[in-house]
């Protein structure tokens, strides 16, 4: 079978079979919609409630993108700082790890209390904590992965630290950085949602997480599923967008982005 058609057709077929089975299960088993709504009902709800959910999606999306941007900028800067001094790296890296492994649900209440008047900022900080580590870890690895012989060559030609960073270490790190960014994109969304879950509903500007909680309390399962669907679609869109960006930036040279000749 043609590979390109298979790449689209195969997952599509799986999805259709799954949806069909789901709908059949709900109808044959006569499962009430407040336990498990069928996909048709979810689609209908999404169509009807979509506009009202869209405002909330925008709030979540703003937090997510701001957190991702902060992760990319601060994470990248931190990695470049680490690359300047081994001492700095070994002194600070463990704390980045500690921040990464601490469950966000455990520290989110603290952050929300500390930044009590600034809802957006507190959610942003939570999402950032979840999202920044892959960028730092990957970029640090990338900056240290420059070809040893090329490093020698730069030394031989008397390159300055700045030149070595600009012409050698940064380009070497770019594929690692982009891979980290792709992971961070998904994590930023998760962080934004989790933080909002912890922060609770209420407030004039509430995101999709609040809608999900609300719908759960009111047993509006179709609406909950519709909100979930929007979240998933957003996550996929961010992932795809970052993938496209990576292809644009390193597609002409890096192994990971090259088409395989068969």
């Amino acid at each position: 079978m043609n590979g390109r058609i298979a790449r689209v057709a195969a997952p599509l077929a799986v999805g259709l079979i799954f949806l069909f089975g789901w709908e059949a299960l709900v109808r044959v088993g006569q499962i009430p919609s407040y336990v498990l709504p069928g996909p048709l009902l979810v689609a209908e709800t999404l169509w009807r409630d979509g506009p009202s959910l869209l405002g909330s999606l925008l709030v979540t999306l703003r937090i997510t993108l701001a957190a991702l941007a902060a992760a990319v900028i601060l994470g990248g800067a931190l990695a470049i700082l680490f690359a300047q001094s081994r001492l700095l790296e070994i002194s600070l890296f463990p704390y980045a790890v500690i921040l990464q492994v601490t469950p966000i649900v455990a520290i989110a209440p603290l952050i929300i209390i500390w930044l009590k008047d600034q809802v957006f900022l507190s959610l942003l900080v939570c999402a950032w904590i979840v999202a920044f580590f892959p960028v730092v870890a990957n970029t640090t690895l990338g900056l240290n992965s420059a070809d040893r012989n090329l490093v020698d060559l730069f030394r031989l030609y008397g390159a300055s630290r700045g030149q070595t960073l600009r012409y050698l270490r940064l380009p070497s790190a770019l594929p690692y950085f982009l891979a980290g960014t792709r992971i961070s994109g998904g994590l930023a969304l998760i962080g934004a949602v989790v933080a909002e879950f912890v922060a609770g509903t209420g407030g004039t500007e509430s995101g999709l997480a609040s809608r999900i909680l609300e719908a759960g309390y009111r047993l509006q399962m179709p609406r909950l599923f519709a909100a979930l669907l929007l979240l998933a679609a957003t996550g996929v869109a961010i992932f795809a967008l970052l993938g496209w960006l990576a292809q644009r930036l390193i597609g002409h040279w890096h192994e990971s982005a090259l088409p395989r000749e068969e």
Partner: protein
């Protein structure tokens, strides 16, 4: 050889030894003087420290003992070619060759002509905008050599540059390298484990043995330049190879 002028050597090593931090003694008591204009091959089996010796000459690795005396400013007039092409995969052929000049603060407009000439000398016209991955192994090595030559070095150091290439490509690159060496007046130190390659290229062959790396023989190659591919089948060439081969196996036992 008439090319090996008298006078001061370009670089001279005096009792140079190298012990790595792991305790391995890579080199011991190396005395070597390289005359300007000569083509010297360091020949020996793998592990004999010949690459380490080349790195010491380049100043990439410090010697643990002994002295290295070089012509003044030689460090700025070096060209180095690694075993691998060692190109920047994200940069085009042109940008890769421009690198040493860029690091020296030269503007691309000022050196465009020189880069074009160097690329032409290595048969790389038309590949300026290609990326390394689009090139064959032999072409990548040509780019690597072009990068080393573009600074117009006085001393060219090559570390088994053709070891990974097929024989046809290696022969062609050998001949091209010789032609360029005769046209310009660099000095070459060439590391290889191939007796045939060393004899074909060099005006002088320095034979090394391992554990620790020592020089066991230092002989001139008595074959006139220019050397063309026809030489590979000449009896005189075979005789030189046989002589060095015998020396090497004697030293190894």
């Amino acid at each position: 050889m008439e090319r090996e002028g008298s006078g001061a050597p370009m670089i001279a090593l005096d009792g140079v030894g190298k012990r790595f931090r792991s305790g391995v003694e890579a080199l011991a008591g190396i005395d070597l003087a390289v005359a300007p204009g000569s083509f010297v091959s360091l020949l020996g089996p793998s592990g004999c420290g010949k690459s380490t010796l080349l790195r010491i000459i380049a100043g990439l690795v410090p010697a643990s003992s002994g002295r290295v005396v070089a012509e003044s400013d030689l460090a700025k007039r070096l060209g180095f070619v690694f075993q691998e092409p060692t190109l920047m995969p994200w940069a085009t052929v042109w940008q890769n060759v421009y690198l040493p000049l860029r690091l020296a603060g030269k503007w691309r407009e000022d050196v465009a002509e020189r880069i074009a000439e160097t690329l032409a000398a290595l048969g790389l016209e038309g590949f300026e905008q290609a990326y390394p991955r689009q090139l064959s192994g032999g072409m990548r090595m040509r780019v690597s050599i072009a990068r080393a030559l573009v600074t117009e070095p006085r001393l060219l150091l090559l570390d088994e540059p053709f070891a990974a290439l097929d024989e046809f490509t290696r022969f062609r690159l050998n001949e091209d390298l010789l032609r360029l060496w005769q046209r310009h007046h660099w000095t070459v130190v060439f590391v290889t484990h191939s007796i045939f390659e060393a004899v074909f290229l060099s005006s002088r062959v320095v034979v090394m043995t391992p554990r620790p790396g020592r020089i066991v023989a230092d002989l001139p190659v008595e074959l006139p330049y220019p050397r063309e591919s026809a030489l590979r089948t000449a009896p005189a060439y075979a005789e030189q190879c046989r002589r060095i081969s015998a020396l090497l196996s004697e030293a190894m036992t």
